[in-house]
Amino acid sequence: MELLNSPLLDWSRAQFALTAMYHWLFVPLTLGLGLIMSIMETIYVKTGDEKWKKTAKFWMNLFGVNFAIGVATGLILEFEFGTNWSNYSWLVGDIFGAPLAIEGVLAFFMEATFISIMFFGWVRVSKKMHLASTWLTVTGATLSALWILVANSWMQYPTGTEFNPDTFRVEMNDFWAVALSPFAIAKFFHTVLSSWVLGAAFVCGISGWYLAKKRNVVFAKQSFKVGSVVGLVAILLTVFSGDFSAYMAAQKQPMKLAAMEGLYQGHKGEGLIVMALPNPAKKSYNDGVDPFIFKLEIPKALAALGYHDFDAFVPGITDIIKGGYIQENGEVALSFAEKQARGKIAREALLAYQTAVKDGKKADVEKYKTQLQNNYKYFGYSYFNSPEDTIPRIPEVYWSFHIMIYIGGYLILFFLLATFYSFKDKLDGKKWFLSLSVWTIPLVYICSESGWMVTELGRQPWAIQDILPLKAAVSALSSYAVMITFFLFLILFTALLIAEIRIMLNQIKKGPEAE
């Protein structure tokens, strides 16, 4: 792997992160706004009140703008898989093939079919048929997200698969284990629910702007009501689903959980940091320097979050590297050195297997295949010389997690107030709250992107947890080629984002009466 220099890896990662984060600006709004406009149309069909039809149509237009600018941005990630991450793509083609094919055939076509009825069918189909098309558009978009999240979850927790040393591919042997892995379920609910929060904050923010300007007051108030209720329910459910995600991280990716909290030395009943000042002098996991100059924590909360037990032992980075603690499943955790040794056995068995196949030695083929299968779980550790290599960059993970938590906490308060004020009809005199609702829009985007940063930065250095590190997944390209395409995408994405914001602001300024 010495041929693979760091600039290549850094540019490949930067390009993927740029594309994924850009893509993620559109997806949550599609899911969140989709739900809200469907609810509004349902109210219209139930009550027959034309005001609700107008309201639903206005949000549908903004949904259309977001959908049009965002559509196909995810395809760029697939270009990058094939070009920049070819080793990885070959290895996991069998796993990713099934969920992505289902996504393409079922969800995308379902979404694309019903979206045309949703936009063009108002006077072509019955009210109920139109309503069904709106809900099916949103269901299609949500199903698209499901299959992508199943694929991503498999990378965090590879299950239901087996490595085939002949084809050199990881092959699926249990579709349902992959599709219904607890990681996939946790990720799906947390992602979709947080997208509803984003959509709700978007609706409240824009409605707040209308109310502050004293424009379209009836429309804005009814939109605010729907947005605030959806937001409140969704943020509370997001907290619960986040708890499940943290539990899964504690079980399968303890290093990620430790990085999220900057926890170097674990204890029983570990607390959750509320506020802290990280110590810049902390350079290594074993330098003995205190990682925080100051910290304020909720006692035992991290143990409760990660293990659903206030007195559970939460391993820190040093514990994970040294091993020897008892895990929740009763097994003793292996040290880095033990995992590395097993990884090396797997690598040597794979090399010996190839030789045995070439020489036609059947007994050796079976022997080395078994040896490989028994140790394959730690294959990726054979790439590392030092335990430091297995630690993600703590400040990025720590701050992404805490920014997500801080904004998430703020959103609970915001939606509580939003629901109270909108249902008590007290929004008119609350200029400060209406301004706050507008400023909540960028905050909820930061929160949503931070959540993904925790997920993806926290699993470093792995492309596939414990099996394939990023440095082995990347293609042997010139780093300059990747750098050039990074800047090309940066220009394209910036231009598209400016176009979206301008078109959207233009539609918002026109208001629902433009319909």
């Binding site: 070819s86 063009f120 072509r124 084809t167 050199f168 794979l350 082995a472 390209l477 090309l488 394209l492």
Partner: protein
């Protein structure tokens, strides 16, 4: 006053009339077409299928990845 819903649903006329009466949709379709064209050019120029450009068969691809991963 609501327009009368035709008794027989016709996909073709729905699309034809829908596209004709588009206002915001015209801008969005322009953006989508420009974006997809740029993406196609970028794909053709900068994103070849890395393995297919080096290997012809699946066996060759497997061998190439094997040699890269076991380096």
């Amino acid at each position: 006053m609501e327009e009368e819903i035709p008794k027989r649903f016709n996909f073709f006329t729905m699309f034809r009339d829908g596209f004709k009466s588009m206002t915001l949709g015209r801008i969005l379709w322009t953006v989508v077409i420009v974006k997809l064209s740029i993406m196609l050019i970028i794909k053709l120029l900068f994103f070849p299928d890395f393995l297919s450009s080096r290997c012809k068969t699946d066996k060759e691809k497997a061998d190439y990845v094997r040699s890269e991963i076991l380096k």
